[in-house]
């Protein structure tokens, strides 16, 4: 078995008296995609924040490459872990290039400003993601999907090898969801490790990721999407009857799921 990059051991978290989850164990290897699924309020984002060190566990521990996350400085964390946030308000109309270039912050000293090299790196990343044309645009004037891509570019500029995504496709239309997912797929192919939260179980199949299904006060099931995302597990996780379908189109086949309305009608009403 490959050495795990992130290891979470008997982690418990609570906001004051209110316990969010307990006894969570998870190992993430280099190059893996982990998709955290679960209903609202089950603590997916909380788990991301704990992995990032923004929040502190009640008990248990989280290690990155064998180092306790709570013992690392924000700069050390930022060099190995990037975080693409869901909620984002941008008060200042910086150019997209400037926003992407901000990702260089962990590599620059307190009084340093980005050099020409940093700018070149930022532009290269934008070029590769196909958003070079946005460089001069005001970040506040571009669309939500473009903004999400700029934020991913900024995170890449940090040069981490683990990236946390908090619901990367929320608020995006269908096309932009596809673009963002495809970008994430490319990142994984390059060897980056991704941990994401999602409200769309189908995205887990699409990214053929490992899935950690959360519900109640911890993980319901952990494993490859094809194996653990069964009708039973999905129904248990979300508390509604879910059906899993297998779709075939030409040479491609893909699983997908949808709530079973007929079942709900007969039981709930």
């Amino acid at each position: 078995m490959t050495m795990s990059r992130i290891s979470i051991r008997s982690a418990c978290f609570s906001y004051g008296e209110k316990e969010v989850w307990r006894d969570i164990n998870l190992d993430v290897a280099q190059g893996e995609t982990i998709c955290l699924l679960g209903p609202n309020g089950c603590g997916k984002t909380t788990l991301l924040n704990c992995i990032h060190g923004n929040l502190t566990l009640k008990s248990g521990n989280i290690q990155i490459d064998g180092r306790e996350i709570s013992s690392m400085t924000v700069t050390q964390v930022a060099k190995s872990i990037g975080y693409v946030f869901q909620e984002h308000s941008a008060p200042f109309p910086y150019t997209s290039l400037e926003v992407v270039r901000m990702g260089r912050a962990p590599h620059l000293g307190l009084f340093q400003v980005p050099s020409r090299e940093d700018t070149r790196l930022a532009l290269n990343i934008m070029e590769e993601m196909g958003i070079r044309h946005l460089a001069k645009e005001r970040y506040t004037n571009i669309s939500g999907g473009e903004r999400q891509l700029v934020l991913i570019a900024r995170t890449l500029c940090q040069a981490p090898d683990i990236i946390l995504f908090d619901e990367p496709t929320s608020h995006l239309d269908f096309k932009n969801q596809a673009v963002v997912l495809q970008t994430m797929h490319k990142l994984v192919k390059k060897g980056l490790t991704i941990i994401m939260t999602s409200h769309f179980p189908n995205h887990a199949w699409l990214l053929s990721s490992r899935v950690a299904m959360m519900g109640g006060s911890g993980f319901v099931a952990v494993g490859p999407a094809d194996r653990v995302m069964t009708e039973e597990n999905l129904s248990a996780t979300y508390g509604v009857k879910v059906r899993v379908y297998q779709g075939v189109s030409g040479p491609n086949s893909l699983n997908f799921c949808a709530p079973d309305f007929k079942y709900s009608e007969t039981t709930a009403m």
Partner: protein
């Protein structure tokens, strides 16, 4: 250390396009020159302008004679020399420093608080310093004593604000704003108490005039004492100009990008407090400058602090030298500076808000 992502190939980048893009966040040489010349031009104008009009050539000669010991024929009266060297010169320098200091503090705070309505006085420095000065006047202190008390109480007020806001060990922006309000109200109440109890014949007017703001107390001897702290604060803020960009994206995101937000906030608060305490100690409460100038500059050069901060220094200095000239010339009895900055600043701010449609400009 630069550990670039190895998997990202070094794409050939068209150098000319790159240059063009880099220049996007910088000002053209012409614009830079204009911004730099503006305060110096107004500075020079303020030396010959006044109730005693002195020809520009004579001003130059006086300056050359007394500052650089140049052998120039003395064609001026002694009164002229005193007015230029001992009155107008220190005053113009201090006005420039105050304008620059308040403006850069305002810009730094607006970035830190993500709010365009923030002024350098939001953490209670003016209320604290005002109380300190009033205390000095009540205690029959000399000018130095009054200024020292104003400076010290300005810093005490901000310190109380800062440590009150740290109830969660960090300093959330909202908590800073709220405790700033609390501390301001507290010191304003204490100031009112002082005003209520003092002798209404001499001391009450002294307190009131002092609070209205004036450059009148600046002399050549005290100039360094006033300019030096302001300069130190400005340099401190300028050094962290790029990190302010990252910081302005919000605490959580800045931390995700490896910024020690508590350290950065600390630096910003210390620098702005040194600046504004010094300003209030020497010149009283001069409102609106730190609010209007950063806004205007953001409209001119955009939000990037690397360009915005130096711009606010130049424009702020020019603006306050200009206002101080008006205050000297407009009537035989000097109009308090704080009144003028408000009368001119408030409508101007309203105009800016209209132009930027309430947004950030840029």
């Amino acid at each position: 250390m630069r550990n670039e992502l190895p998997s990202i190939p070094d794409l050939p980048v068209d150098e000319t396009r790159l240059e063009e893009r880099i220049d996007e966040s910088e000002l053209s040489v012409g614009k830079k020159l204009m911004l730099l010349c503006l305060p110096f031009l107004l500075f020079f104008v303020s030396l010959f302008l006044g109730r005693l009009m002195i020809e520009p050539m004579i001003v130059l000669k006086i300056l050359g004679h007394s500052l650089f010991n140049l052998p120039v024929d003395s064609t001026w009266t002694e009164a002229m020399e005193i007015v230029v060297i001992r009155v107008r010169l220190p005053r113009a320098i201090m006005a420039g420093a105050v304008g620059a200091g308040l403006s850069i503090s305002g810009a730094a705070f607006q970035g830190m608080f993500h709010n365009p309505l923030v002024s350098p006085f939001i953490l209670g420095v003016s209320a604290g310093a005002g109380f300190g000065a009033a205390l000095g006047i009540v205690m029959d202190g000399n000018l130095f004593m009054i200024q020292l008390l104003a400076f010290v109480f300005g810093i005490i007020a901000v310190a109380i604000t800062y440590f009150t806001s740290r109830i969660y060990k960090t300093t959330p922006i909202l908590m800073l704003v709220l405790s700033g309000m609390v501390v301001s109200s507290l010191f304003q109440a204490l100031l009112s108490l002082l005003k209520y109890t003092v002798d209404t014949e001499s001391k009450l007017p002294a307190i009131i005039f002092w609070l209205m703001g004036s450059m009148g107390s600046i002399s050549m001897e005290k100039l360094l004492l006033g300019v030096l702290p302001i300069a130190i604060g400005c340099i401190g803020l300028y050094l962290i100009r790029w990190r302010m960009n990252v910081m302005s994206m919000g605490d959580l995101e800045a931390r995700a990008m490896g910024i020690n937000t508590e350290l950065l906030k600390g630096i910003i608060i210390v620098c702005t407090t040194i600046i504004s305490s010094t300003v209030v100690a020497f010149c009283g409460i001069i409102g609106w400058v730190g609010l209007v100038i950063p806004h205007l500059c953001r409209m001119m050069v955009g939000p990037d602090h690397r360009v915005l901060l130096p711009t606010t220094l130049c424009v702020g200095a020019a603006y306050l030298i200009f206002i101080d000239n008006i205050s000297r010339i407009i009537s035989p009895a000097e109009v308090p500076l704080g009144i003028l900055t408000a009368i001119i600043g408030a409508p101007f701010f309203a105009y800016l808000l209209r132009k930027t449609k309430g947004g950030w400009g840029g």
